[in-house]
């Protein structure tokens, strides 16, 4: 059967020594930055992007993916032990996880988070593996108008879910599209917005842009604050959850894995949304909802499973349609484009080793993560004690080093610093860089799809509304935009955003 043939292809790629090494580097770094507050997966992927220029694309994607799902594991450690989320997706874990730690049950909390993550991660990969091929056959029927409308919908959903002010978020998407047009017009070779700088003819590179917006600007913002955190000094014993713990957790783990996986597929959804939704869901389903918030193990198991399953689900739109569901996937898309690989329905056929290799590497990565996060938990706890005063100069240095080696020129470094300062100011003024970077990555795809559609239709905009899939996407986008104006929905959206915002 195809399923097994594909898996054999995949594992033969994933188990190559080079790929195993980079998979390990990915999940290791992912856990590391997941544990450390103040740097997230997007910033890290941006910083490591220059390294991927020198290695084969499959290896690069294996490593970068590992950072993403590895961060979902690591994030829980900080949430449970310090009460500060290591990652946005672990915000909700803080509530019950930290309570458990205060009650001396940090061990089982960390244990169930790791096991839940493993189970959910595996369920997510199976889902990815089963769902991707049929979706590819649907996606193959998509023409430029469908792609255009789908990308617009994706951007609208992203701004709808992730922002305090939707107008600001949409504006940032516009800025991202604008930044993406800098450089030679691919259709006719006309230079655009290069202001006479020859280095800009190739456009603004994703690495300096993302490193600036997510690496440098995060440092600038963090050094303004005195980051201090105290670790609950419980001895980490009994990491293996008891039978009772398992009994209370297995239901939430399985349910949250499935729900999380599907939420991960949604554009703009991803791990953060999944963790919030499943926590609420489990609280409602629980026989003892009053325990939630006071150290219920299900309150740890559910969101930690969901964010891992969602991390896998998020790969589906990228791998099948070539459209990133969230910023992290946007970074992966950027990395693929650096290697001249355009993800989408053709990728599974043109680059089967990459497609199945990356999927198989996730199984391998999940096993590595379980080992990294259970027996080696003590190492991460020690790392938590490294002060930011030592961390940030090193992060800054790696940014500068990476920024230089892309083109061996300081131009990219100036660009990076420029976007670093810009990102700092943007966040000060409450403009989130996430929609900007996603729109920037999509910019050229969006422009090509638009132009091709208009050429197809002979200049009539009707092509976007007469084709059913395209029309459906656009209608949904308009409905979302309109609903964000309605007061009641606006309030609920705001609550969700503010909850997520508080701890990040």
């Amino acid at each position: 059967m195809d399923f097994f043939a594909n898996m054999i292809t995949g594992f033969s790629v994933a188990l190559e020594p080079m790929n195993l090494l980079f998979c390990f580097i990915g999940v290791f770094v992912g856990t590391l930055i997941g544990v450390l507050p103040g740097i997230g997966p997007v910033g890290t992927m941006a910083i490591l992007l220059p390294i991927t220029y020198g290695i084969p694309p499959t290896t690069a994607i294996i490593m970068l993916s590992g950072i993403y799902y590895g961060a979902q594991y690591g994030g829980s450690t900080t949430s449970i032990l310090v009460g500060i989320p290591g990652e946005a997706a672990s915000v909700i874990t803080t509530i019950d996880g930290y309570q458990m730690a205060l009650q001396g049950r940090a061990g089982p909390a960390l244990g169930i988070a790791a096991f839940g993550s493993f189970i959910a991660g595996t369920i997510g990969i199976v889902g990815l593996q089963l769902l991707a091929p049929p979706l590819v056959s649907v996606a193959l029927r998509f023409g430029p108008p469908e792609y255009f409308s789908l990308m617009i919908l994706g951007l609208v959903i992203l701004t709808y879910l992730a922002q305090k002010s939707m107008a600001k978020a949409l504006m940032m998407a516009g800025v991202g599209i604008l930044l993406g047009t800098v450089g030679l017009d691919t259709m006719n070779g006309v230079p655009r917005f290069t202001v006479g700088v020859p280095e800009l003819l190739d456009g603004i590179g994703i690495a300096p842009l993302a490193m600036g917006l997510f690496g440098i600007s995060e440092i600038l913002l963090n050094v303004e604050q005195k980051l201090k955190h105290e670790i609950v000094t419980t001895e980490l014993k009994h990491l293996l959850p008891s039978a009772k713990d398992w009994g209370e957790s297995i239901g939430p783990i399985l349910r949250s894995s499935i729900v999380g996986f599907f939420l991960g597929i949604l554009p703009g959804g991803g791990a953060v949304l999944a963790s919030f939704v499943t926590y609420g869901m489990e609280k409602r389903l629980s026989k003892t909802p009053e325990q939630f918030g006071k150290g219920a193990i299900a309150g740890v198991a559910a969101p930690e499973s969901a964010n891992n399953a969602a991390a896998q689900g998020a790969f589906i739109p990228l791998l099948t349609l070539g459209i990133p569901a969230n910023v992290v996937m946007g970074m992966l898309l950027g990395a693929l484009m650096i290697h001249n690989i355009v993800p989408g329905p053709m990728m599974i056929k043109d680059h089967p080793d990459l497609f199945w290799g990356v999927i198989a590497s996730m199984y391998v990565g999940n096993v590595m993560l379980l080992i990294l996060n259970l027996p080696l938990i003590g190492l991460w706890v020690k790392l938590l004690q490294v002060p930011y005063s030592i961390l940030f100069p090193m992060i800054l240095f790696v940014c500068l080093l990476g920024g230089y080696v892309i083109n061996n020129s300081t131009f990219d470094l100036y660009l990076m610093l420029f976007f670093g300062v810009a990102g700092y100011l943007m966040r000060k003024f409450d403009y989130e860089p996430a929609p900007l970077i996603l729109a920037y990555v999509l910019s050229s795809l969006l422009e090509n799809a638009l132009r091709q559609s208009l050429i197809l239709s002979g200049g009539s905009l009707q092509i976007f509304v007469t084709r059913p899939i395209s029309a459906g996407c656009l209608i949904l986008a308009v409905v979302l935009l309109a609903s964000s104006i309605l007061p009641r929905i606006r309030e609920r959206r705001k609550m969700l955003v503010e909850q997520a915002e508080e701890a990040t």
Partner: protein
């Protein structure tokens, strides 16, 4: 002045600028969109959203009445300024002084000068960081790093 009002004016100007530049690039027709078509649309969209944010800034509400100075209140902004300036200095000096020397200076100045970490720790961490990165980038990835006056 209200921070949203200031920022929206900036973005409006940016959007307007890109509209102007796009028109000069050539809009083409809808049947054959020119190079300026998408940037024009993006610029117009930015202007529209900026206008919306500008108008919203007149609404009442506690968080909406945030002045500019409030953004830098109660934070150690001198620290971020210092880090920004040091980064700029690093870029300026990199190709003349060389990778190793400039990087060592940057790490030492930040850790010892800014963050008051002990000399011993500063030097150990800086040198280990440099050695590891040199190994990864120069030896393993074979990247070119500016040698500068030290020759490595």
């Amino acid at each position: 002045m209200n921070s949203d009002r200031v920022s929206s004016l900036f973005w409006f100007a940016l959007g307007a600028g890109s509209i102007y530049a796009s028109v000069r690039l050539g809009m083409g027709t809808t049947g054959e969109p020119g190079s300026g078509f998408v940037p024009f649309t993006a610029g117009a969209f930015i202007c529209l959203m900026a206008l919306l944010v500008f108008l919203q800034s007149f609404q009442r509400g506690p968080h909406l009445k945030r002045g500019l100075s409030a953004l830098w209140k109660g934070v150690y902004w001198r620290r971020s300024l210092a880090v920004g300036v040091l980064t700029l200095a690093y870029i300026l000096a990199l190709e003349t002084l060389g990778f190793s020397l400039t990087s060592l200076l940057l790490l030492v100045i930040i850790m010892r000068g800014l963050e008051k970490i002990s000399w011993r720790k500063t030097l150990i961490i800086s040198i280990v960081t440099l050695a590891v990165s040199y190994l990864v980038f120069k030896v393993f990835l074979k990247a070119t790093l500016p040698p500068g006056i030290l020759g490595f």
